[in-house]
Symmetry: C2
Subunit: 371 residues, 2 copies
């Protein structure tokens, strides 16, 4: 008999562009294909390297857009062909993770799937592995399990998980029942959350038995589940797959797994959370990227880019240099300068969240060449 | 007998790089070769077009660096060969203007020279012509004459001229004796100057008989004068000129004409000023350039560059675009962004004067490729 961890399969949905990191992130160079920490690895590769020791490199499935296939395979040479799931168009995370679960459960009825974003930054691999192991153990008890990050500050850019009580699961001590998921709070609320000790950051990781996950999807979204099962039925039959995908995939409802699964499952008492202490960041915007690259010192200008030539008196903010041009900053603070061959962004850390509005404006004005 | 205005010769020293406008202005693309107003003309060409109706296009001499010869001649196709004075290296304005005067006085002993910077912006040609005519009339009375601009605000970026009393020169009514030249003031002093009514902006224009100017140079700087006369003696002899220039020019003292001529002449009561009302700006930095290009409205972001693609919510400051890249500004005010193919500057209007320090730092660190 296999242990739950031996039945674990990691799923990496590699979908989002990361519009708040424009013009660094683009449709053809999404966030997960960038090295955002100067480590030498793309975020996708780092995600793989973190999961391979847990799942084994033959047990990691990547769900990504057709356009990114070559880049993903170049980043992950050990990725098995059968573990590449290509989306003809983005249908959000329920479809992406749900399809992976539906495919895998046909191959292994007892499989436990865990989904981990391709574009987050995590430091503390040992703590990460311990948390995943606990999550897998709790998943075996038919909970849908998330990993919640112990907050280190009253962040307003993240969603929070409110925990209820210790579930007392053997081998997964400390795993709590989830009371509820709460949206990004304002600062006062975030401060209350952090001091309460009951709130954890929602890192968007979900671990559960594949059959339990599909059951939960079916409770809320029966049509979506039906579509996923129809796709999964033909997925491993190369001849039959194409026409079904063309017909079914584009019709699937676009909905984030947070809404289709996590919130209703929490409300019904079927959601558990592993409180974890590793460093985690979703690198949601340039302010976050600046913090991540300032070496922990608040008074440093972060500089990202191999051939950066920066001359600056700024003591905060970030410069991302992709052109090798001389970049000179005088008398600007908390500045964000992103210098790419065809687009330049100048903003401040405080305005970092507003970058997406520029992308929207560029879209509206038809300037897709730089998106 | 000729009128004084018929004996007028315009001299355009086209020397300075305009370091405070880096990276727009460069050693190989100095300020005077740029169109800084979106008029379609470089500042040099606009200076020519302003002077040609007064002096005639055969009576304008340009003193410039050897490296800029081709660019200058391309800008000024009507410039006579004999009116191009090339410097092998910069020796400041006394040498440049003094050499022009020394050459011209040998050709025409009664010549009246007027020197006008190649890189200032003037609006109001009729008023400019009237002021020059008055200056020429006063110059005939052996004054060294400057044109002072009636201040429109308490600018701290300009030097001022304090006037003493009306000289009562026939045909040049309103021309005043100069009491003194005063350096760039602080704001409180500038406010006092403007309300006094006695102070005018020093626009660096000097009009005088060539023999009077050379006499004044000789009073303060006899060696410099001797060098200039030696150069002038052989200047129009193509065979003899080269060796003398190579020997004499590099040894000439580097001193601005303000110090060698204007201040001592003023102190001795030999300096006159024409109060003038045309719009004048030396476009000394990007704050000035922003003001010049904001259409007079304080709440406009100025944009300079033919193919500028700017997406911005900034209501002040300036973007100079030389690359055609999309430039996006979010939540930054009074910003200065200068986007060139090999260098990018980000600063604010308030820090515009500090741009020169970056140029100095780049020089020190050996990054001459972008200077």
């Amino acid at each position: 008999m296999t242990t739950p961890l031996e039945r674990f399969y990691a799923v990496i949905p590699a979908g989002g562009i990361g519009s708040r990191l424009w013009p660094l992130s683009r449709a053809d160079a999404p966030k997960f294909l960038h090295d955002l920490t100067g480590s030498g690895s793309t975020l996708l590769r780092a995600t793989w390297d973190r999961l391979a020791p847990i799942a084994g490199d033959q047990r990691i499935m990547v769900v990504t857009g057709r356009a990114h296939r070559a880049a993903v395979e170049q980043q992950l040479p050990d990725l098995a062909d059968a573990n590449v799931v290509l989306e003809s168009e983005p249908r959000d995370s329920t479809a992406a993770i749900g399809l992976a679960a539906a495919i895998l459960v046909r191959r292994e009825p007892d499989v436990i799937v865990g989904s981990f974003a391709a574009d987050h930054v995590i430091r503390g691999d040992r703590l990460f592995r311990a948390a995943v192991a606990q999550a897998v153990t709790a998943a075996e008890e038919r909970y849908i399990v998330t990993i919640g990050i112990q907050p280190t500050e009253p962040a307003i850019g993240f969603g929070y998980i409110k925990s209820a009580r210790d579930l007392g699961i053997r081998g997964a001590e400390g795993v709590m029942l989830v009371d509820s998921f709460v949206e990004k709070p304002d600062l006062a609320t975030a401060k209350r959350y952090v001091s309460s000790g009951e709130h954890l950051w929602n890192a968007g990781m979900f671990i559960s038995r594949a059959d339990v996950l599909l059951e939960e999807i079916g409770r809320q979204k029966p049509e979506l589940l039906a579509g996923l099962l129809e796709l999964a039925e033909v997925w491993d039959d190369a001849a039959a797959r194409g026409p079904v995908v063309d017909r079914v995939w584009p019709a699937l409802e676009k909905i984030a797994i947070d809404y289709s699964v996590a919130e209703p499952a929490a409300a019904a008492g079927r959601m558990a959370v592993v409180p974890a202490h590793f460093d985690w960041d979703d690198v949601g915007d340039f302010a976050s990227l600046a913090k991540l690259n300032s070496g922990g010192r608040k008074s440093d200008l972060a500089i990202l880019g191999e051939n950066a030539r920066v001359l600056s008196d700024a003591s905060s903010g970030i410069v991302v240099s992709q052109t090798g041009r001389v970049i000179s900053l005088i008398g600007v603070q908390d500045i964000v300068v992103v210098d790419t061959p065809d687009a330049l962004l100048v903003t401040t850390s405080a305005n970092a969240q507003r970058v997406k509005s520029v992308v929207d404006a560029l879209k509206l004005s038809g300037r897709d060449d730089v998106l």
